[in-house]
């Protein structure tokens, strides 16, 4: 799957971001001046990230906690998903046994895991991490498997001819060959995980996390802080997309002349 990389670069996204800020300002202006509602301006949201009322936890601490939870859940999905995908590709019996399971997990919306996760882990980090892992996992498994399955059959004739070992075949040929598809799955999984992280923190998280902080703002009426949290979510997403996945994908595809 080829993606239009140029349009998604940071520089390419700048006009869109500026437009978004402009729309935000216009809405805030309208809401405040005409409707008399406390809709925060962008600079107030930015300010709330760095300046915290005495009784509140700083937004950056909430962001750090959210990020750690996401890393935990996504890390589990990454390791388990790639291993699962390899096992499905390698062992037909395992494929027959577990492929329906992957399809089923894929169908479950992130928030629908709440009853199960509450029974299994109760309120807190365990539940959030579990929900992130479960929603990030399916695309990683599916893309790992399909990437391996779609390898050029001509290339697969070479390892047996060279009498490469099973390990060499996997690490030198199969996984690198499936890498563009695996990275695609990891990107989709990362997005899924991040979205469910915020929702999960609103419901099953403890007293920390961006989702929790946003949810709390409805009681504290600190709308600037809720928007600040939203900004942090966007910034974290952009960092992963622009500084990790995009350069990685670009490098992998470029090497293949794609």
């Amino acid at each position: 799957m080829k993606t239009p990389l140029k349009g998604r670069s940071l520089k390419g996204s700048l006009p869109g971001l500026l437009l978004l800020i402009l729309i935000w300002i216009l809405i805030a202006l309208y809401q405040r001046e005409i409707q008399d509602k406390p809709f925060p301006y962008p600079w107030e949201a930015v300010q709330s990230i760095f300046i915290t009322p005495a009784a509140h936890t700083a937004l950056l601490i909430h962001a750090g906690v959210s990020l750690l939870r996401w890393i935990g859940g996504y890390g589990i999905a990454l390791i388990a998903g790639i291993s699962w995908g390899i096992a499905i590709w390698r062992f037909p019996l395992f494929q027959r046994l577990t492929e329906p399971l992957v399809s089923t997990i894929q169908l479950i919306p992130g928030m629908a895991w709440i009853p199960i996760t509450l029974i299994l882990f109760g309120l807190g980090n365990g539940s959030t991490i579990f929900m992130i892992a479960m929603t990030s996992l399916p695309p990683v498994v599916v893309n790992t498997f399909t990437g391996m399955q779609q390898l050029d059959p001509g290339l697969l004739k070479i390892p047996p001819m060279l009498e490469l070992t099973e390990k060499q075949r996997l690490t030198r040929i199969i996984i690198p060959g499936a890498l563009p598809s695996i990275i695609g799955g990891l990107r989709i999984g990362a997005g899924n995980g991040f979205r469910v992280l915020i929702s999960a923190e609103m419901v099953v998280g403890s007293s920390l996390g961006l989702g929790y902080s946003m949810f709390q703002s409805r009681w504290t009426l600190d709308y600037a802080s809720a928007f600040g949290a939203l900004l942090l979510i966007i910034v974290i997403g952009l960092i992963f997309e622009q500084l990790i996945f995009l350069p990685l994908e670009h490098r992998i595809l470029e090497k293949r002349g794609l």
């Binding site: 001509g154 070479i158 040929i173 060959g177 293949r256 002349g257």
Partner: protein
């Protein structure tokens, strides 16, 4: 050296079974450059894949040095119709993979890579990626990979059929030079009479499906001049045999 004993091969096609090869008996001698000629669907590619161990024949046996061929291996280097280079590896890395399990020093491995790249005329392209090479250059890397395997037998399945005529002529000449230099046994499949005659010391003609050996010709010392009388004489003979053995729908390659 390499023997095909009563090889037949069938494969399913929907509800039917198609017989690709029927009762092939053949012996390839050491140091020989045997070209196998045949129209599309004659099973020549299936035959060479059976020799490579990539296809198990429905009946019969292939033996190399009297050992049955059961799977692909380093004793039979194969060059395919497509170069089949790993696109994420440079030319050097593609070749280095051949020597992965060789019990020699890294320095010697690198020397061998340089030697073989020099032999195919790609010394300056060792760090290039496959997508940066032309079709002919990719096929040269594929040949270099096969040569690096140091196998006694080189199997070539229409390796130049996807290339333009000039590149193909040049690679034919290069291949002949390499064969004269290294003296490997080569089994070369083609659908071009001219290519078969230019390269082979012996040429066999396979009939249209099911593929059977129709006739063989000794094609040593024909030279490269395709307008020379001995070349033209044998060319016409093969041409008319093909017309007889194959349905009239078959289009001969006239160059």
């Amino acid at each position: 050296m390499l023997t095909f004993q009563n090889i037949s091969h069938e494969y399913p096609s929907g509800a039917e079974t198609i017989t690709a090869l029927d009762g092939i008996n053949l012996r390839v001698n050491r140091g020989e450059f045997l070209t196998i000629l045949g129209p599309s669907g004659s099973g020549k590619s299936t035959l060479i894949h059976i020799a490579g161990g990539f296809i198990r024949p429905s009946r019969g046996e292939v033996r190399l040095h009297d050992v049955p061929v059961e799977k692909p291996g380093r004793d039979r280097a194969m060059v395919f119709q497509d170069a089949n280079l790993f696109p994420w590896m440079s030319v050097r890395e593609n070749l280095r993979l051949v020597l992965e399990n060789e019990p020699v020093s890294e320095e010697r491995k690198q020397e061998k890579i340089v030697e073989v790249l020099d032999l195919v005329g790609l010394k300056d392209f060792d760090s290039s990626l496959p997508h940066q090479l032309s079709g002919g250059m990719k096929q040269k890397v594929s040949i270099a990979r096969a040569l690096l395997m140091d196998s006694p037998l080189l199997l070539m399945d229409e390796p130049f059929s996807n290339l333009d005529e000039r590149t193909r002529d040049r690679l034919n000449r290069d291949l002949l030079e390499i064969w004269k230099l290294r003296g490997q046994t080569i089994l070369f499949v083609t659908h071009s009479i001219e290519e078969a005659l230019r390269l082979g010391t012996r040429t066999l003609l396979l009939s249209k499906r099911p593929g059977k050996i129709v006739q063989g010709w000794d094609t040593r010392d024909l030279g490269e001049d395709i307008s020379a009388p001995p070349f033209l004489e044998i060319y016409r003979e093969i041409h008319s045999t093909m017309e007889l053995c194959c349905p009239p729908s078959y289009k001969f390659e006239m160059r």
